[in-house]
Amino acid sequence: MRARWHILVVDDEEAMTESLAAWLREDGYTVDTASSGREAIEKARGREYAIYFVDLKMPGGLDGIETMIEIRKLQTEASVIVITAYATVDTAITAMKEGAQEYVVKPCHPQEISLLVERIIRVKNLERENAILRRKLTRQYRFHDLVSKNPRMAEIFDLVREVARQRSTVLVQGESGTGKELVARAIHYSGERGERPFVAVSCAALAETLLESELFGYEKGSFTGAVAQRKGKFELADGGTLFLDEIGDISAKLQADLVRVLQERRFFRVGGTNEVAVDVRVIAATHRDLAADVREGRFRDDLYYRLNVISIRIPPLRERREDVPLLAQEFLDRLSHELGRAASGVSEEALRILMDYDWPGNVRELENAVERALVTCKTGVLGAEDFAFLARPGAGSPGLSLPAGLTLQALEREYITATLRRTQGNIKAAAEALGIDRSTLYEKVKRYDITR
């Protein structure tokens, strides 16, 4: 089983390279050798080695540390063991600082090398096993790009599968960042229309006239700048799905136009005289309470009823907190790959912070938070300190509700208590969030007799 692990030995002295390679082969590993830093980097480009043994002093070109830095740029998860005949504390510290996993002085005891490699490989085996299990777990809770183990989300997945087979209009409601477009895409790609186009339009992003020509297209000369005929999104989505995001923000005129299209499946291009017929499934989405808008006369009831044939309401993330670890790991896996950062997990302390946070920006905010933490993370695991920004006022935490007649001191006590609760009693994170140093926070905790 060890043969599947590849090791590269890099040393300018052939006798060293060959003796170490021979020893590791007797241990059952597949071993390559390189006689210079450049050759090692070339080899690293062509194959992923689990472990690199790199000699510290190599004459001409790259030395051991430079070689290690280049290798780690290519393969962030590679383990580098620096070997040297000239051991000093300084070189050892430099090597470790630059990312060497171990530092070996040659000649070394025969068992030292074997035990070292075995220990690293054992960890790599566990990491690999962990990644496989995590992927299995995510697959279990995955539906297209949606990941959840929440029972209400499971019902939504079932509903999506059901409605994917039909052409009925669907209204997806949920707070910003809950993944309304992902649900719309899941409906589209689960059904027969999956091979046809999925066209998304954000209704809030465009002015009324622009939105009209965007949706229905226009004829040449219909307005200044219309130098040629252009198809609108309805036509582009023919045979497929048109996703109208932020439908609650469209004007009264467009509401009227949409009622007609949904009813007759035909429309006029702007400035056109010929009707265009389309076969489009419409999925609309909004973060607004459309029923309330209808009651208050801001949204046409006939359009509401046509859109709301099938209604899907996505719960906010704070109502499905069990998904937070799953989603955090999902984002971490994807983003660490995209950003080239080697973080493998989220610490328990950090997870508690994530679970306790209210996520007003929902899944999108969680994704951004993981990305931000990943950028600042200095170890292989995202810790509480990497998420300290979540506790800062104005970073998206819900507003304080303040009873009347509170003294300034009582307010300070309440706020410190709330912050400590959010950071799970972590003084460092709380002090950072409050913008004071730790000793001041300790003093206040003592003065106000706050239990952490």
Binding site: E13, A22, E26, D27, G28, C108, H109, P110
Partner: protein, 188 residues
Amino acid sequence: MLGVAAVGPAPALVLSAMETALGEAFQLPVQRLDAIEEPARAFAPARAQWSSTVFLEELLRRVPPGASHLLGVTERDLFVPVLSFVYGQAQLGGQVAVVSLARLRPEFHGLPPAPAVLARRAAAEAVHEVGHTFGLVHCRDHRCPMSLSIDLPDLDGKTATPCAACATLLEGSREMRRARARTEGGRR
């Protein structure tokens, strides 16, 4: 046939114990060959040790026509450049191997001489190094001669009989098929 040769002086009783263990472990005829002269160029004054790689080079030149493998046995303390010492060295999947008796002797570790202990350790190491020439790699079973045992208590826990897993690998190995074919050919 597996050939065994002392490289320089080596006690006959220990050589016999090694030959018996090799015969039983590999089920091949074992033959004592004439002693070989120590390769003087193997000595490294800076380390006051002998290069096992040079020993292997010398042994490669001495493999007799009828032998599939040759094991050299020396009293010298052996080393490879990257390690402080080795009990022996072999060509993985090759023809030759060498075992050093120096550190197998109890007296090297400040203990009274014990010929039986030396013979038992030497037998296990002989099977270990010759096992490498048959393509076997280190085994996790601490009682198997193919396990990597450096410290004395571990070394003394080894037997000279390959574990079931190593025995199976040995039976299926290309090197063993070749050795058997060579032995059969020699008999005819």
